[in-house]
Symmetry: C2
Subunit: 155 residues, 2 copies
Amino acid sequence: MPVNNNPLELRLERLIHATPDKLYRAWTEPELLKIWFTPRPWLVSEARLDVRPGGSSLVVMQGPDGQSFPNRGVYLEVIPNRRLVFTDAYTEAWLPSEKPFMTVTIRFDAEDGNTRYRASVLHWNEADRQTHEAMGFHTGWGKATDQLEALVASL
Amino acid sequence: MPVNNNPLELRLERLIHATPDKLYRAWTEPELLKIWFTPRPWLVSEARLDVRPGGSSLVVMQGPDGQSFPNRGVYLEVIPNRRLVFTDAYTEAWLPSEKPFMTVTIRFDAEDGNTRYRASVLHWNEADRQTHEAMGFHTGWGKATDQLEALVASL
């Protein structure tokens, strides 16, 4: 885990044995995202992704006991096969959400036939960053990324 | 003043005797923005506007007693001569600001040779909307818009 000195940030970095376009597909095609996005036994019951700046996303996460958590956000920046930025500060362009919690940047950088895969999650304050970490960010994103690696190996 | 039922919104609407492109110029060219943006005796001492989605803006407002207030933001949507959307939730793409306070949409719609000019300011909660109103939103934006009208009449 690289040293992280930004008190507002949580991050994940991994070298993944797949080209950037496959990882980008896994993030932007709803049927692929459903396969890897939630650590099992959680599932994605619905994914709608309007992948363009100002486009909105809805990903409904479903727990093993039937709990359902809708996650809404808006894409801020979309560079195919390179970078995705989205935030939950808006539910659609440009309506404020109940609580601006995080802004996520996913970078896909080609590296000798593999991809240097980096997720940066920035919060508006340190308390939210700590809450997110306590909610299990590292374990959750780690397991989901294991599933992502398995998926892109099969693409 | 039109009826406003959105508890998160402050707005201003006016029919201005100028074409949309002149109003758009007044919002996007720093030397023009400096002329009208703050109700006198306040001044704009500095304006840097990188007018593109993800571009940042810095407008420094200077009071008659030398007080200086830097306002930083990022453009979310830019449709030349039609619409501008920006927020202070970021200081640059995509770094969270200390406090996400508002998202501003300015619409310039042609109407019989004039412009239906509409500003919508959305806040993340009702308290912030009330604070903004108590800070003098209607008087301040009203006076600035008087100055804007005078400026575009001369373009």
